[in-house]
Amino acid sequence: MGRPEQSSRMLHLLGVNLPDQKVVSVALTYFYGIGPLTARKICSKLSFHNECKLSELTESQLNQLSGVLSEMTIENDLKRQVTANVVHLRQIGTYVGKRHAMGLPVHGQKTRNNARTAKKLNGRMLRKYSTVAETAFARQAFGMFQSPLSRHQQD
């Protein structure tokens, strides 16, 4: 996690480029899985003051920070967890899983028009997962994805 001597504009921490000139709690939200609240909690845990910028942190503080971050479920681990949850819902045949597979909203929103966010995002993981098809688990999920509607007739 060594920082170059010249004041560079980005800091590379655990595979994510963080902007050096930003306040720490803001910069931390660049991680997938860390929002403003979690970022503030981390800062107070490590006793960084509110306006402390990332460039002002010392080497040991950065080490502490990366220590805390590496214990959290963030970035790819979290994404994988989310995907696994959706695939599981799909696999056991729940309504939520079905809505994900269809790319429609999950929480009972109207779909007469709009539903743009869901159409953009839902089901992406299932499709991505199905193209990989590495494990038996994936293959099973793939089979279910191909026939999302014929499921009740099966058993």
Partner: protein, 92 residues
């Protein structure tokens, strides 16, 4: 990190909502399905292996309970909506 909204919905002291099926054990042993309208019934460990016919408002949809379904509701596995598919009308 945070409990889900589903967990927030019901007080813990009440425990999960479930319906008592009187012949559950015999039905699991014999493999005959249990016809039910109790969609809100939580799937309990005692129900694993049972077959249900869960009402979806129109028909009774067969649901076989597996271990992975624990803690979900019976209704989640009996879909209530029919997907729209366009067909040309033949006799008009």
């Amino acid at each position: 990190m945070q409990p889900t909204l589903v967990a927030f919905a019901r007080s813990v002291w009440k425990g999960p909502f479930f319906v008592h099926f009187p012949e559950l054990k015999e039905r699991i042993a014999s493999g005959t399905p249990i016809k039910t309208m109790a969609r809100a019934c939580t799937i309990m460990p005692s129900m694993i292996g049972a077959k249900f016919l869960v009402h979806n408002g129109k028909d009774y949809v067969p649901v076989r309970v597996t271990e992975e379904m624990l803690g979900r509701k019976l209704g989640e596995f009996s879909h209530t909506r029919k997907t729209f598919s366009y067909r040309l009308t033949k006799n008009k």
